[in-house]
């Protein structure tokens, strides 16, 4: 467990890159492709792409059409659409997000990926695992695990520089 205030995003990304490199080698994930969840996950995927010197474009997912709260809150405000500019069939995917919390976003992202095709495998890479899971989903690689006080939230701001914002949840 880390103290949230002490976390430095660049250090975390370097740690993640090292662990991810190890995982790619150990699990023999040949020709893996990064897929970021908009928007924070895309920023992270771009950083990891450089650090790991991976070839090819990264994928970007906007999971608004796959959320499970449509009936409660309607359409989400517009962000850029999804773009997976490569064939996902039989690829090893590295799915990247900034904060892992309930797991619902990851559930939605995986559902969307499977509408593009059948990947060989999906590894989940997150900057912060803040606990609080409501679904059986876990990160393959994470930067830090933190515990937040009730009512506290953490958010990745960016894209340049990337930094973590810690604050009280808006009610």
């Amino acid at each position: 467990m880390h103290e949230l205030e002490q976390l430095d995003v660049d250090t975390l990304i370097a740690d993640i890159a090292a662990r991810l490199k190890k995982r790619i080698a150990e699990q023999n994930l040949s020709n893996p492709a990064l897929v970021g969840i908009r928007t924070g996950g895309v920023w992270l995927a771009q950083r990891l792409q450089k650090k790991l010197k991976l070839a090819g474009p990264i994928g970007e997912l906007n999971i608004a059409f796959y959320r499970d709260d449509f009936s409660r809150i309607g359409m989400h405000p517009t962000v850029e659409p999804s773009a997976l500019p490569f064939d996902v069939n039989d690829r090893h995917l590295l799915l990247v997000d900034d904060i892992l919390y309930t797991g619902r976003t990851i559930r939605a992202a995986m559902n969307e990926i499977f509408d593009y095709g059948r990947p060989r495998s999906i590894s989940l890479v997150v900057l912060i695992d803040r606990g609080g899971r409501e679904l059986p989903i876990d990160a393959s690689v994470y930067g830090a695990r933190v515990t937040l006080a009730p009512g506290q939230h953490v958010k990745l701001l960016g894209p340049d520089p990337l930094r973590l914002e810690i604050g009280a949840t808006k009610s």
Partner: protein, 322 residues
């Protein structure tokens, strides 16, 4: 008309889509932006998103239509909704009472959305005023009044090719008087900031007093098309020629048919649009309809994404009212 109040919920979100009139620019832009996101879905292996899973859409068509009904059906299916198509005979003019009865029956089947085409202006609004708070109504064309999703797919097509509405000259050509498409297009173009809108056609096919909508009137294609960025053709309905309004299709083509020579009046990169189905050799020459500047088939593709956007926005709003 108080349609602006019935179209939006208390927070200004789209609840019913009955007309492009009286809606703010921000909302029309949101429809276009959402449609942009949905176009990607059509390029994937699985051309479906689970957004409206478990919702029921009824296509309620009191007037025949192939293209509009099928694109609405496809849009609903790509959103994972269940769709029923009801083609109701447009025999006699339906009275309010019978329409209300039809509606009550369909509502009892727990319908979440009605997509309505009707030969009488105002029928979709009438339905929107009858249904419960959790039900949305989309106008798929009513009388001479409005065809808002057609107008929005036209706006989407214009934005894809021309980007900035505030720099454009647009000509709407043909039977404006009987066209619900033209009316919805004019309102949308105005709201989105198009500075110059022209209507072009013979006197008998342009409604009197149309200048009041802020459009310039032209009675010849030569002046009407000069320097325009967008040519929006309208379909000439055959029944107009049987009445006294027009001599014949051949004669109409002679003066108002869009030929390659006449299109040269417009800017070299002008696009040509048509809501379909086209009458070749009546309002448009095949060489233009199938030519480089024609975006008529792209309009059809865009129609699916635009209808997905409108349906999901309206149903998202309605779902919270329940």
């Amino acid at each position: 008309m108080a349609q602006d109040s019935i179209q939006l919920d208390s927070q200004g979100r789209l609840k019913h889509f009955l007309t492009t009139e009286h809606l703010p620019r921000s909302l029309l832009t949101a429809i276009l932006d959402n449609a942009e996101r949905f176009t990607v879905v059509g390029d994937r292996a699985v051309k479906k998103v689970p957004l409206l899973r478990g919702k029921t859409v009824v296509n309620l068509f009191f007037e025949p239509s192939t293209r509009t009904r099928t694109t609405f059906e496809l849009a609903a299916k790509r959103l994972s909704a269940d769709v029923m198509n009801l083609n109701i005979e447009a025999s006699a003019a339906k009275k309010g009472e019978s329409l209300a009865d039809t509606l009550r029956t369909l509502e009892a089947m727990q319908t979440d959305m009605f997509v309505v085409r009707h030969h009488e202006s105002g029928a979709p609004e009438f339905i929107a005023r009858q249904v419960g708070p959790e039900v949305s109504v989309i106008n798929a064309g009513d009388g001479r009044h409005a065809h808002p999703t057609q107008a929005m797919l036209d706006m989407f097509t214009i934005r894809r090719y021309k980007r900035d509405f505030t720099q454009l000259k647009v000509a709407i050509v043909g039977d404006v008087a009987h066209s619900r498409v033209a009316r919805s297009e004019i309102h949308a173009l105005k709201t989105l900031g198009v500075p110059e809108i022209r209507v072009v056609g013979p006197k008998t096919l342009l409604p009197r007093g149309i200048e009041a909508l802020g459009v310039d009137v032209h009675h010849s294609l030569e002046t009407g098309l000069a320097g325009v960025d967008v040519v929006m053709m309208l379909r000439l309905q055959q029944e107009r020629m049987q009445s006294a309004l027009l001599p014949s299709g051949h004669e109409y083509f002679h003066t108002f048919g869009l030929t390659p020579a006449r299109l040269k009046r417009a800017k070299p990169d002008a696009i040509v649009m048509h809501p379909g189905p086209i009458n070749r050799g009546v309002e448009i020459d095949s060489a233009v309809a199938d030519g480089k500047q024609s975006v008529i088939l792209q309009q059809v593709t865009h129609g699916i994404a635009v209808r997905m956007a409108v349906m999901s926005m309206a149903m998202g709003t309605a779902a919270q009212a329940s």
